[in-house]
């Protein structure tokens, strides 16, 4: 393991731990951003350019912003909580072990050579695009339909708040929230 990976891994873990431990909800969200961005760096170290940039664009540019906006639209989001901790420790620990065990066993059983250096050159964006448009086109289209449905649903929810058929007024909560659901 090289030093760059160790630093990145430490940043990911620190961000995740911060997101769990921070008192203020906004701090939790910002620590989450640190974890997301460090994960993008980890992808880049694996020479997965496209995945790394997409991670940055989607998670920092969209997911983190969505979380933050949802917080801004919530009443009393500034209130810090004394303890956000999860009470039944044993249950939490069991779930954590179960999930990480499933992930690790899936990776080990996937047939990827553990510790073996990558032999093939990293796939180009063009190759990824070709695969998405040919072999995985159904999955891609299904995802597009799902997102479109979510967008239309969000717009409808936003419309309802002001009574049927009347467009939401600017600056009201529903209108902004609806638009950000995309």
């Amino acid at each position: 393991m090289d030093i760059a990976f160790l630093i990145t891994a430490a940043a990911i873990l620190a961000g995740a731990a911060g997101a769990m431990a921070a008192r203020s909800v906004v701090h939790c969200a910002l620590c989450g951003v640190v974890a997301f961005a460090s994960l993008a760096v980890a992808f880049l170290q694996l020479r997965a350019e496209f995945v790394g940039f997409a991670q940055l664009l989607v998670y920092v540019g969209a997911v983190a912003i969505l979380i933050v906006v949802a917080l801004l639209l919530t009443r009393n989001f500034e209130a810090t909580h004394e303890a956000l901790s999860f009470r039944p420790w044993a249950l939490g620990l069991a779930i954590a072990l179960l999930v990480s065990g499933a992930v690790v066993s899936a990776i080990l059983g996937s047939g990827l050579g553990v510790g073996a250096p990558p032999s093939a050159p990293p796939p180009t964006v063009k190759a990824i695009g070709d695969l998405l448009m040919t072999r995985y086109v159904v999955a891609l289209e299904a995802m597009g339909v799902l997102l479109t449905v979510a967008l239309i649903g969000a717009a409808l929810v936003a419309l309802r708040e002001n009574g049927p058929g009347r467009p939401a007024k600017p600056g009201e909560q529903g209108s902004v929230a609806g638009r950000l659901e995309e």
Binding site: L30, L57, A64, I65
Partner: protein
């Protein structure tokens, strides 16, 4: 290579064009091999930093001068000849001002926000080809990289707005996020036709896709196609909004929320936000130049002897002048107009523009007489007709006429 000049002159122009590239190669060549790749990157980074910071200082001066002229006053004219040393005076002022942090503020986030603003913007310059062989790195997914680092700016504005514990700051931050998310969509989608037809996300490849000449003299820039022209206009509108420039400067709105997320910033931290905004404006203009205006390429074949970087900065200067002009001319938009423009107007048009680009691509084999005109009419009307119809429908029921003054004489 260069048309219309004798071979000896052509070699000279070639050398002039590659002056900075050769200089860097020579410098790097003097060093032991183990250092070369690092020093090469460091030199590129230093060059980008130096050039664009200088451009920033000059632009601020020119903008103040230009706005002054538009508003019938002089602008800065006291420091140095014609006020040329004003940026230096401003810098000293910013550096020596007290760095105030509100007592209720979240000190760490308040401190980090300006850094998060400037660093991603500087990173975005890495993929821009400033001249022939003059891109710091040529990523396979350069365009994606540009937008990925650009997305971090929204977070910086939120951090600034929230950490200041000031209601104007928070309002500004919310406005900024709503606006930037809304306009990110048309901005990214307006670049889609270029990626479709160039077949690459690498900005160097996209510049190369605009090489060659049509009719033997006019460059094959994307802007000389119907979808390229529409794309450039849509891109410019979305880019203006994305960089929070007037008339889309609602997040700052001095007369409404007294500068929004910047209220509680002073001294060099405020300056960092200022720098970040201007560098962001340059970066997005540079992207527009690369995608639609041929990057560093000359517009006509007779002007190819002018060094490539000169063309790039000439075009960048044009963009900057346009932004200053817009700021001096247009009033600020209202929040609902802003959202309507993004979602009901720009978004359908950028999607149609992608269809238009596909049509342009598939009608390329047409060879009958007047095929070029027919293609232009067909692809142009695919965007032009919806433009008129959408505009009419959105303005329906509104009385748009000459402004009437009730309070002022």
């Amino acid at each position: 290579m260069i048309a219309g000049v004798p071979p000896s002159a052509a070699t000279m122009f070639e050398a002039l064009d590659q002056l900075f590239v050769s200089l860097k190669h020579w410098l790097v060549g003097q060093l032991p091999p183990a250092w070369q790749s690092w020093v090469s990157l460091a030199i590129s980074a230093a060059a980008i930093l130096g050039v664009f910071m200088t451009l920033f200082a000059l632009t601020v001066l020119i903008e103040r001068k230009g706005l002054g002229r538009i508003q019938n006053r002089y602008g800065p004219n006291r420091v140095g000849p014609w006020g040329l040393l004003q940026p230096i005076a401003d810098l000293i002022k910013m550096l020596t001002k007290e760095d105030l942090v509100p007592s209720g503020a979240d000190r760490v986030v308040h401190f980090v926000a300006p850094v998060v603003m400037v660093v991603p913007v500087l990173m975005a310059y890495a993929v821009i080809p400033i001249g022939r062989n003059m891109a710091a790195v040529d990523f396979n997914a350069g365009l994606l990289f540009f937008f990925a680092v650009g997305a971090c700016i929204e977070l910086a504005v939120f951090m600034a707005g929230w950490s200041s514990r000031n209601k104007y700051s928070l309002l500004g931050g919310m406005r900024a996020i709503a606006q930037m998310i809304s306009y990110e969509l048309p901005l990214i989608l307006s670049t889609l036709p270029v990626v479709m037809l160039a077949g690459s996300l690498s900005l160097v490849d996209i510049t190369d896709a605009q090489a060659g000449h049509s009719g033997g003299w006019l460059a094959r820039w994307h802007v000389f196609t119907p979808w390229g022209l529409a794309g450039l206009l849509l891109f410019t509108v979305a880019a203006t909004a994305e960089s929070n420039r007037a008339p889309f400067d609602l997040p700052e709105g001095e007369s409404e929320i007294i500068a929004g997320h910047l209220v509680e910033y002073s001294g060099i931290k405020y300056a960092l936000f200022f720098i970040g905004e201007y560098l962001g404006m340059f970066a997005v203009s540079a992207l527009g130049i690369t995608l639609f205006l041929g990057g560093w390429r000359a517009p006509v074949i007779w002007l190819e002897w002018v060094p490539s970087y000169m063309w790039f900065f000439l075009k960048l200067g044009g963009f900057v002048a346009l932004f200053i002009w817009l700021r001096g001319t247009l009033p600020r938009l209202r929040a609902d107009h802003l959202m309507n423009l993004a979602w009901k107007f720009l978004l359908p048009l950028v999607l149609l523009n992608a269809v238009s680009a596909a049509l342009w691509h598939y009608t390329a084999p047409w060879t009958f007489v007047g095929a070029g005109l027919a293609r232009w009419l067909l692809c142009g009307s695919l965007v032009g007709v919806p433009y008129v119809l959408l505009g009419r429908r959105l303005f329906a029921g509104q009385h748009i006429g000459p402004r009437t003054y009730r309070m002022a004489a």
